[in-house]
Symmetry: C2
């Protein structure tokens, strides 16, 4: 609950996220509630946006607000809304950089959600999405909302369009869990985008779009077997898998342990696997981390329901 | 109701269909119950498959069973099942050739459904689909099931995969109507496929797959506005529209009359439009036929619920 406005300060938690979800490159993503970023925004008399601290597991983020994903959207907000006050921003990173876990989008969403909470009039959801996309673009160099949308709104989200935002909730059977395994490697999103094909055969488009539509239908229908058949990426995974040592072994381990599907989380190097229930998720997590270790790569892992909450205010200080 | 086997003869009706449905090239289609083909299959002592008559609105179909869509699948069936009897086949075409209304698939499905009814043991749905696809391939030169699946099963169907068949029912709000307008032109499917791009930009794949997923989600969620936003074809329609005189005027007329969306039916030259309710459908039908007439093209038109039945046995003669 947010107390009466105006607030002096608000802290937002924004979860990690799985972009693409195998079948829906750049348009499908879901929140991953087990880990996330925290951003505190405090109203200041001085106008503009200042980063006052960066801590948590990452310390080398840009101090320039225009170059930092948590603040670039706030700069735009200050301009658009002609605010008479400014924002002081403290960032606590829980999501590793270059992990494919949507960390840049998480900081961007947390910053916008916290800033919205200290405005005299809060932003609409579409406005929050749009400003968070400004922040996300600083990091990824591409305008796609498959991380921002689920981080902001929770659960599994299809981003049909960005401008204006058209974000569709896709309900997911309650028992579906996501295992997210992060190898101790860093892969720059821009590098991962550079290996993408610029053109694809029409037949491949047909095949992949059927997978995405099948996944969406399977989720709506609660058809776990269909979800498992459709959780497949024939377009992007073949190009990016070579960037991740052990990819095929880890994917095979996940499937061997019963996972419905396993692919790269966003641009990688993290891998995700969807599982039907907690027991399968635990077994898949163990199999995936063991397979990474056998490939000489240490990793950390999390488990979250796919249908989980998005960003929220976790602490406030009244005016 | 089918009486006790064995039947001597069975007649199947198979409806027309709308392939692609704008957003789902080669993988999405729905039945169109207002018009269709009839095929009568009679068991004969002589083995093999013979076409005994072709009538209705089309008279120039191939008399060679291997070259006729209604019988090619039956030839395969006779071989696969090592039948001790044969099939005599009478075809009554209600669907114009080269209209984009799925006529070849309709004949193929009607033939298989009627033949299955006179077997000692009827075929499974997957078997019926697979044999009908053999017939469809004779005409279209491509293996895609977006006509065969809805003709066989009714309603709106996503064909996630062909081999093995993975056909997903997509529920459609009960009030949704389809207007199908057939200009008095003939467009060979192979010609319409020749103009398709062989490669498309990755960004276009992303955009179009989001439309398809949005359409599927909108149908499951009963979100008519989302259905309207997602009924769009950015890939195939631009290539094929120039083959249809008056295309853009007719499409604009449909939209002007309130249609949720309008595009080519299958390979064209027919156009379809989805409408919310009977009144809108009547207005859209009038607007589309008037626009074709203004472009110098006479046309005929039908209206059907999108959620309508597929092929069925309409007459039998006992053994």
């Amino acid at each position: 609950m947010i107390p009466d406005r105006p607030l002096r300060s608000a802290t937002a938690f924004a979860p990690a996220s799985i972009g693409n979800v195998a079948a829906g490159f750049d348009v499908l993503g879901h929140a991953m509630d087990a880990v996330g970023d925290l951003v505190t925004v405090t109203r200041s008399v001085e106008r503009g946006v200042r980063i006052v601290s960066v801590d948590g597991i990452v310390g080398d983020l840009p101090g320039d607000p225009a170059a930092n994903t948590a603040t670039a959207g706030l700069l735009r907000m200050v301009d658009d809304l002609e605010l008479s006050f400014g924002f002081e921003v403290a960032i606590r990173k829980g999501i590793p950089l270059g992990s494919g876990m949507g960390g840049s989008a998480s900081s961007a969403v947390a910053g916008v959600v916290a800033a919205s909470a200290v405005l005299d009039v809060p932003l609409s959801v579409d406005e929050q999405f749009t400003y968070a996309m400004v922040g996300e673009a600083v990091a990824s160099g591409a305008m796609h909302g498959d991380n921002v949308a689920p981080i902001l709104l929770g659960g599994l989200r299809l981003v049909r369009a960005i401008d204006p935002p058209d974000i569709v909730r896709v309900p997911v059977p309650a028992g579906i869990r996501c295992v997210l395994v992060h190898p101790m490697l860093r892969l720059d999103t821009r590098t991962a985008r550079a290996v993408l094909p610029r053109q694809i055969p029409l037949s491949l488009h047909v095949r992949q779009s059927a997978e995405l539509a099948g996944l969406v239908a399977g989720c709506f229908a609660g058809d776990v077997a269909l979800i498992g058949r459709a959780l497949a990426d024939h377009v992007v995974e073949p190009a990016r898998a070579p960037l991740v040592p052990g990819f095929h072994a880890v994917q095979a381990a996940a499937r061997g342990a019963g996972a419905l599907g396993c692919s790269l989380s966003g641009a990688g190097p993290s891998l995700f696997a969807w599982c039907d229930g907690d027991a399968m998720a635990a077994a898949v997590r163990a199999a995936m981390t063991a397979a990474f270790r056998a490939a000489g790569v240490e990793s950390e892992a999390w488990i979250s329901p796919v249908d989980c909450p998005g960003a929220r205010i976790v602490e406030t200080i009244s005016g």
